[in-house]
Symmetry: C2
Subunit: 246 residues, 2 copies
């Protein structure tokens, strides 16, 4: 390989990495806008989020095509190969994050049709945490900083706990006032979408570990979506111990 | 390249493809068992499904490691390269399908703690359809049959429609009897999990198209999760037109 080729391959890898960073920025903005649309009952903003989802899909197609082109053209090894495989993995996580943001926006349209319900405040609360995790993971990717990636990965547990407590709160609220069942159900799915966005952020953190260290992160993060076990019945404090971890 | 190398690379690709087929079989079995556990309120079966999810995760790790090894060792081109990239993509979709099956099993434990509710029958109904789609997609992968993959991909719309109608039915049921809110909420999430499994099956169908044809499937499948727009209020037939597609 001549210096020229080597240099230009480095530039191509940098370009691929920049595409991921840009896609991550758009995904972050989509999550932020979707969460704002819910809190403000802003139908215009929600519609913009749903429309902008195509941009994220287009990024994924471009990144996949470029990654495959580089694999074929450059036949990379070691770190270079991991860079390209990581780009394929991260772009698919970001694409899913975009889908969840779009679904949150979609549901906010249904919420805006009915009177606001108190537990809606939990959406911005979860949104702030998930956006902080996404920001740290994307910074960790740019800086190739494994420690920062793992720190963000660990915060996902806070998000799961927040989701689990919200799940119980919303269920109780629905039982107290069945007229809130429709908005509360959309709230539950929005919260679930935010929890799933956090899971995809942790996938990206794991990919960063693989990218930099060269081996998969094998520690099992305790997955604590206690809500899947939740049994809430009207005035049932003695049920509370039935919620939580397996 | 000597014939020997060529032959053994072909064998390695076949082995990778076989791993995907096995992983698909396990994922299919997990979905089937999870759906059965719900219908039969079978806590033992549900627990088995949750434990077996590790097997699927292990398949994904093995497939990723093998794919990366082949990329580095064989520096493949064209169809061979697409085989390996497709294995990476499909293994991650199958891993997600396994997670959803495990979550359905997890929620069935909560359902088994409370009296059965009528809409539970919708889970096996959706389950049969999603299992049929998964079977067709996996057959299409084994046979490298694009037409079969696209046919399965199109059936995902039936699944979305089934999910949307179930969503309204369950919401109405909750409103009629708020004591059913907890089990009905778990039902909604189980149905959503089945709908998501269908989405991952369509991703696999799209990957098969890329694998065989060499270009991404660019037709946009009309995404019809009308439930995200659903507004259901007690005795509100005039709201029904507010549900459905955007």
């Amino acid at each position: 390989m001549t210096d020229h080729i080597v240099r230009s391959f480095a530039q191509e890898l940098q370009r691929l990495s920049n595409l991921i960073t840009q896609m991550g920025g758009v995904a972050e903005a989509q999550v932020d806008a979707a969460v704002k649309a819910v809190g403000r009952r802003d139908v215009t903003l929600a519609t913009q989020v749903m429309q902008a989802d195509q941009r994220i899909d287009a990024y994924e197609r471009d990144i996949d095509a470029e990654a495959i082109r580089l694999l074929a053209l450059r036949q990379p090894l070691a770190q270079d190969l991991r860079e390209i495989v990581s780009a394929l993995k991260i772009s698919s996580d970001l694409e899913r994050i975009g889908d969840y943001a779009s679904n949150i926006a979609k549901r906010s349209l249904a919420l805006a049709q009915v009177p606001a319900v108190r537990p809606v405040v939990a959406v911005p609360r979860m949104g702030r945490l998930v956006e902080a995790i996404m920001k740290d993971v994307l910074d960790a990717y740019i800086e190739r900083d494994v420690a920062k990636a793992i720190a963000a990965w660990e915060r996902d547990e806070e998000l799961d706990d927040l989701y689990t407590s919200l799940f119980r709160e919303v269920l109780t609220y629905m039982m107290e006032d069945p007229r809130t069942i429709t908005p509360c159900t959309h709230l539950l799915f929005m919260a679930k979408n935010l929890e799933r966005i956090g899971d995809h952020a942790t996938n990206i953190a794991e990919t960063i570990h693989f990218l930099v260290v060269g081996a998969p992160l094998r520690v099992e993060r305790p997955k604590s979506d206690g809500s899947s076990f939740a049994v809430v019945t009207p005035s049932s404090d003695n049920d509370s111990d039935r919620t939580g971890q397996a």
